[in-house]
């Protein structure tokens, strides 16, 4: 167990170190996220206060597109110089590779959210002060499930030369339950003042657990150099 944990941390640390030195992915993703928020803001007529309901939808658009770019980049790192072949030859459990990639992706998405969310709050005057913790819980749970699906399919399409649009096409429809649940939960939380409902939380947790398990089981079947 501890050996597997060490492998996960080593691979994730390697990916994060590459990211920290180049800062290619994160800067790209953050700028893309801000651009999306700005474009949507102009479309919706910025300046007017936006409800928590609309806030979730706007933020999810930014997270979804940014997330797909993150998943692509973390897999693309392994494709340069046949790094993936080396990783597959190393005595590392495939599950550990999945866990490490997932960890990297979740951390990248959290840092994306940490920058884009305050920008959106500033630009739109979202009022999240009523339930900041509820907002963070919903978004974090949603992102973990989304990252699990994304990590799996990024690995699946990484050797097809078609990732660009293909990955978004694969991941978006599968992630719709997360978007629906989080927008509906935000509507209840901010517009109707209800506490976090257990149905919504249970659905989000079920999504996370199901796709974490499925991705972990299936991951090694799609991983090819």
């Amino acid at each position: 167990m501890t050996g597997a944990m060490r492998q996960v941390i080593l691979i994730a640390a390697k990916d994060l170190r590459i990211e920290a030195r180049g800062r290619q992915t994160i800067s790209l993703v953050i700028v893309l996220g801000i651009l999306i928020v700005v474009v949507l803001g102009m479309g919706l007529g910025a300046g007017r206060p936006v409800s928590g309901f609309a806030a979730t939808a706007i933020l999810w658009v930014a997270y979804l597109f940014g997330g797909v770019l993150c998943f692509e980049k973390t897999m693309a790192v392994e494709r340069h110089d046949d790094a993936l072949a080396g990783l597959l030859l190393a005595p590392v459990d495939r599950g550990a590779i999945f866990a490490a990639k997932l960890l990297t992706n979740v951390l990248l998405m959290f840092s994306l959210a940490a920058v884009v969310t305050p920008v959106a709050i500033l630009l739109f005057r979202f009022d999240l002060s009523a339930h900041p913790l509820g907002f963070a819980t919903i978004m974090a749970l949603g992102m973990v499930g989304f990252a699990a699906v994304g990590t799996l399919f990024a690995a699946a399409v990484s050797s097809t030369r078609l990732e660009g649009g293909l990955l978004a096409l694969l991941v978006f429809p599968l992630s719709l339950p997360v978007v629906i649940v989080s927008t509906q939960m935000m509507r209840r939380l901010f517009e109707q003042g209800e506490p976090l409902g257990s149905t919504g939380l249970a659905t989000l947790v079920a999504f996370d657990v199901l796709f974490l398990v499925v991705s972990w089981v299936v991951f090694e079947l799609v991983l090819e150099p």
């Binding site: 078609l162 719709l176 997360v178």
Partner: protein, 235 residues
């Protein structure tokens, strides 16, 4: 062998068409009109059996996808592809008949009611399944990626169902059916299921034959495609 198969196939389709016609006559002359919703409620007898068969076809995609990942035999992939097509076709019918019904009942073609949203997402999930297939060149990669997606999409369905249940609803939650209505509904299940199975089988055979044709013609082509990822990753 082939002639017997053709005759059997023709018999199957004649029987299915006859049953379908009988069900239509039953609908016209036997089934009573529902009191609150009026004649448009009769769309239900096509709508529900097609919806149930959509799930059945999606389940075939799921099983065939697991079968492929387990055994790596190409005919599992052909079966999954056939079932994917049938799922999309049947889901389109569910969606369109539902929209016609909604237009008559509420005066709008589309509302974000849970059930309409549910069938729309189901439709999108399996349209994507069909869209990704031709965009992967290597047959083995295509089969593997589609299988993973086929499994994920089927697992997604209950989650979509749970999530749309959180949306505000204007749908009738249940309809009290008279015995004649129940009988009509049961009768409609037979030809609709026969059509689903027939389409699935016909499409599966077509896919098999296409694969055999392709394999017979393009052996060097196929091995060339497989060599590309290896050659390209060392620029």
């Amino acid at each position: 062998m082939s002639a017997a198969r053709t005759i059997l196939g023709s018999l199957y389709w004649v029987l299915t068409a006859a049953l379908l016609a009988a069900c239509l006559l039953m609908l016209l002359f036997y089934t009573p009109v529902e009191k609150t919703m009026g004649p448009v409620q009769k769309i239900f007898y096509l709508h529900l059996p097609v919806a149930i068969n959509t799930f059945a076809a999606a389940f075939v995609v799921f099983v065939a996808s697991i079968g492929y990942l387990w055994q790596r035999r190409m005919w599992w992939d052909d079966l999954a592809a056939a079932a994917g097509k049938v799922t999309v076709l049947f889901c389109a019918i569910v969606l369109l008949t539902g929209m016609v019904w909604g237009r008559s009942a509420w005066g709008v073609w589309w509302t974000w009611s849970p059930r309409l949203t549910f069938s729309l997402i189901l439709f999108l999930l399996y349209v994507v399944y069909l869209m990704i297939r031709p965009s992967v060149e290597s047959p083995q990669r295509r089969a593997a990626i589609s299988a993973v997606y086929g499994i994920a999409a089927f697992i997604d369905v209950p989650l979509v169902y749970l999530s749309v249940k959180m949306m505000p609803d204007i749908h009738p939650s249940s309809i009290a059916l008279e015995p004649e209505m129940k009988l009509t509904l049961a009768a409609w299940f037979i030809p609709v299921t026969l059509v689903m199975v027939g389409f699935l089988f016909a499409r599966f055979r077509l896919n098999r034959r296409l694969r055999e044709l392709g394999a017979g013609r393009a052996v060097p082509e196929v091995s060339g495609v497989q060599a590309i990822p290896l050659g390209e990753s060392t620029p």
